[in-house]
Symmetry: C2
Subunit: 358 residues, 2 copies
Amino acid sequence: MTDMLPTGATIGILGGGQLGRMLSVAASRLGFKTHIFEPGANPPAGQVADRVTTAGYDDIAALEAFADSVDVITYEFENIPTTALDALEAHKPIRPGREALRVSQDRLTEKDFLSGLGLKVAPYANVESPDDMASAVAQIGAPSILKTRRFGYDGKGQARLKSGADADAALVDMQGAPAVLEGFVTFTHEVSVIAARGIGGDVACFDPGQNVHKDGILDTTTVPANLTASQRMDAVLLAANILNALDYVGVMGVELFVTQQGLIVNEIAPRVHNSGHWTQQGCTIDQFEQHIRAVAGWPLGDGSRYADVVMENLIGDDMDRVPEITREGNASLHLYGKADTKPGRKMGHVNRITPRQN
Amino acid sequence: MTDMLPTGATIGILGGGQLGRMLSVAASRLGFKTHIFEPGANPPAGQVADRVTTAGYDDIAALEAFADSVDVITYEFENIPTTALDALEAHKPIRPGREALRVSQDRLTEKDFLSGLGLKVAPYANVESPDDMASAVAQIGAPSILKTRRFGYDGKGQARLKSGADADAALVDMQGAPAVLEGFVTFTHEVSVIAARGIGGDVACFDPGQNVHKDGILDTTTVPANLTASQRMDAVLLAANILNALDYVGVMGVELFVTQQGLIVNEIAPRVHNSGHWTQQGCTIDQFEQHIRAVAGWPLGDGSRYADVVMENLIGDDMDRVPEITREGNASLHLYGKADTKPGRKMGHVNRITPRQN
């Protein structure tokens, strides 16, 4: 396996939040060092990394020095500026690759891409002007939801239309940013597939998890999800379809709506995903190690699930419950080492485990 | 729980090897920062720690600065000089405490302590001179084994006596260091109990594991061990007895010989232990997190085992097998990030998991 990055090599990680932190720990388990690149001071990932560079994504010299110090570059978030990616890629490989970033950085591009693969998505229309908005509302109707094409997360950059009368206000909310109007989909529940693809094209998917959101932020993921065997198969196959189409290397989160008409793709994230944290306790090789294996050119783990798990996010004041959680049996706590607790901030999560039932 | 060290606090770890490394990762999972104190440059634990101090145990100023920067101090090895412990303890609590170190740093003291608890140990006699050696051989006989009282590990500092004729050569091997002559025990196999005691006196034991050594170094640990239900109960109760007698806080490794006459205590180690690495894949809370929970004053996890596990150490050239191990199903690999592979050096381990059978 001459393509395998040797142990002792250094993996560069763009972004120093909790995902970078857990990627860094997984990399260490395989004998790799990590180097975190993060604009903010004292990033959570820096507490468990060999090196940290504190610099902005517009600091080309810092990006180049970072790239020169590592063997391969990966990332914990998709909204990395193109100029930064250009500077990095001139020095070292970026995995997952640029095409996955290009597609997922823009909701319109992403929906066009998914539709082009023959996958179902919610009805959508591009909105860059008041004229676009009028025709989008005519086409999609209401209720619907206007979302910025770029830089949205955890419900931010979104405005709901209860009726066509809300169109003007929603457009103002976008602050002039290009947007997409999405029709509401009637779904029974949301699931996500955490899928991985290796450098040789092999694909391994974890069991789909069922997601519940609260205030626009993921609250819980439960495995197994409430899916029929054929729905589960559909979910895994369509995820594999997406990864293959992108010649993807790494772990991707694929969010799906379960509807009477089948599975509808909500969105994709070219990285480890909050809805995959359950794998830390449910699988021999979790999503973080799976991602590191992929970007390092190592064989993927098989991703089999040995337990039923409910992952619960700890957001803001949920931290007050930590003492009682530490007294629960079969609860695995993961805290992110963030200095300040703020409303809506992801502070940690807990995986509650029971023996596998089916 | 006002005694609980708050998340965001810093745990100081003496020793930067693989045990310190895995303790550091476990601490991060609970939101703690870690600071490693280690005389050697570029310690494996430093790759996943917030801070590293590179200084010797005779550098009192460095020890004091280290102690001032942390909230509690623990360690990955027992042979810490008393002067260093004095300097540290003047500033911050050391857990497990001094009594456990005093007992386990000297084989004679340890055997006297264990015998005093009514536990069985191999026949032993103190050897500080040729006269002692003569009377020890007369008392213990041969085959037997002469071991330095302090600083032995992985079979180092030991000399075997096939007969009394080997006595002089064995004594020369000790290079004048005080030693203990131990009688050979006829045992069917060796097991160890990884036991934890919390700051409030609660005790939790992991299932005993069965150990196989090769060239004096642990090769594999298998759970469940080959023990009857009553032997398993004896093993756990005697381990709890030891921890309670020491008013112990943290994880301890207790090695036991299984004999026709019952369980004989081989040795104790006041720290996380190589024979407890299987807990990383067999339990919701592993020995490293259990140790951190104890020294941080947090409630212990229950330590239940959900899988059968065989832990195999990767020593020296075993690293050549890493590519094939990465292709195994249900094998969890843990590499230590050591720069150089040397014969006899512990480079990593692999936990192979199967569903729990009993």
